[in-house]
Symmetry: C2
Subunit: 231 residues, 2 copies
DNA sequence: TAGATTGTTAATCGATTAACAATC
DNA sequence: TAGATTGTTAATCGATTAACAATC
């Protein structure tokens, strides 16, 4: 690690999982060595950016050679702390929550240790083997089992209240699927998955691009012209 | 609209749904008027940024007064094209896909018109009233019904292939839940929801903050010290 | 050694913030 | 009118890209 003092910027951190995915893929394909420019071409980034990003954490390459795929993947695993598993609880086990359970069972870096819902059910989750407890049991459970991460799959109306509560019980990170922005002390981390925002952004991009194209093609052609993008 | 020519930057576009959420909330609370600085305080942004962002699309405020909440919300609705509904299909109706159906039934800007899965089921979706077709029917369906957006809830291994295919059938935007980066012609829009990346980022933030705190507090205190953030 | 490619510094670009004249 | 707050230009900040000396 190069500069253990200086904090790494969020844009860089957000690219790490993507690097990790691409490297894992290369590894799977038996590729042993890769240069920053080769990786850049595959990831549609610049070689400069890749070298800059990696050098926030250390000099993992070798001049004249490039990077060992396997070694670099290992370094990123370490940077992302994938050797540990953060104990996590899920609050809100509705359709979305249950869908996430499948994804989480194989996920690195995290381990589900408790499920909670307003309406507790004795139903044992097929993936985790956990049963769904009532939110009333949150405090006792947290104090005893010390989960660090909470996955919030509850409606926006309750999210802020529950989050505050959980922060008080020692939760330090929220994976927030509710459609609100949680207001929490700054030492608490939040990663939002704002599905509604996301689809609105896509809609904007699609509609907007359409408009642009109509402008540039002279627009006044009257009828719905198909476009079949090549490649 | 101020500068219909100049394209708006993505950071600005990505903030629009959030503005829309906050304004809808203010409206719901009966607040009629708001200044950029008041809104900035609520959203934890700078007043400058808000004024800059809005002015990409037009001068919606009034000097000495601020912004009409209701009117501004309406403008953003229009900017996001929420008066239209893009016809959309879902490909992959597993746990995650089904969970999204609930979210989409009330969503603005989009309307589901078809569901597809490798294993078609005659099961009619409770929200949409649509039944699940086989992927084999995609081409015919698209050519006939001209969906514009595809929601991809399929495993990464198939996503690239299906996406190319769909692009050929006229799909212009992808809401991509598969854990791969789709390579598509640049005129096609993609909005990724990379859940695995997202949880890794959260894990990094939590672990990293923990490390920082241990450094600053002198670290060598031995035992798991509780932290209960106030406020 | 010569060739390739990194690590790193410097230059550029773009986004955010500050400042203030315009104006309601 | 005086006060408030915008729209907009200028300054700052940060992130990306380019360049190149170091080095494998």
């Amino acid at each position: 690690m190069k500069n253990p003092e200086q904090t790494v910027s969020m844009p860089v951190v957000r690219r790490l999982p993507r690097y990790y995915r691409f490297l894992s893929d290369l590894k799977k394909n038996g590729i042993v060595r890769i240069s920053s420019s080769e990786l850049a071409a595959r990831m549609r980034l610049t070689a400069s950016q890749i070298r800059q990003d990696l050098n926030c954490f250390g000099g993992f390459g070798q001049q004249g050679y490039g990077y060992h795929v396997d070694q670099l993947a290992g370094e990123i695993e370490r940077i992302l702390y994938l050797d540990r598993k953060l104990p996590a609880i899920m609050v809100g086990v509705g359709n979305l929550g249950r869908a996430l359970l499948g994804h989480l069972s194989g996920a690195k870096g995290i381990k589900l240790i408790g499920l909670f819902d307003k309406a507790p059910r004795p139903v044992t989750d097929i993936h985790t083997g956990l049963e769904v407890m009532g939110v009333g049991q949150l405090e006792d459970f947290c104090l005893e089992n010390k989960p660090v991460v909470a996955i919030l799959c509850i409606p926006g109306e309750h999210a802020q209240y529950i989050a505050r509560q959980l922060a008080g019980y020692g939760i330090r990170g929220f994976w927030n699927f509710s459609n609100v922005d949680l207001q929490l002390p700054k030492e608490i981390s939040v990663e939002n998955v704002h599905l509604t925002d996301s689809i609105l952004i896509l809609g904007y991009k699609v509609n907007n691009r359409q408009e642009e194209m109509e402008e540039s093609t002279g627009s006044a052609d009257g009828e719905g012209h198909e476009q079949r993008p090549g490649e």
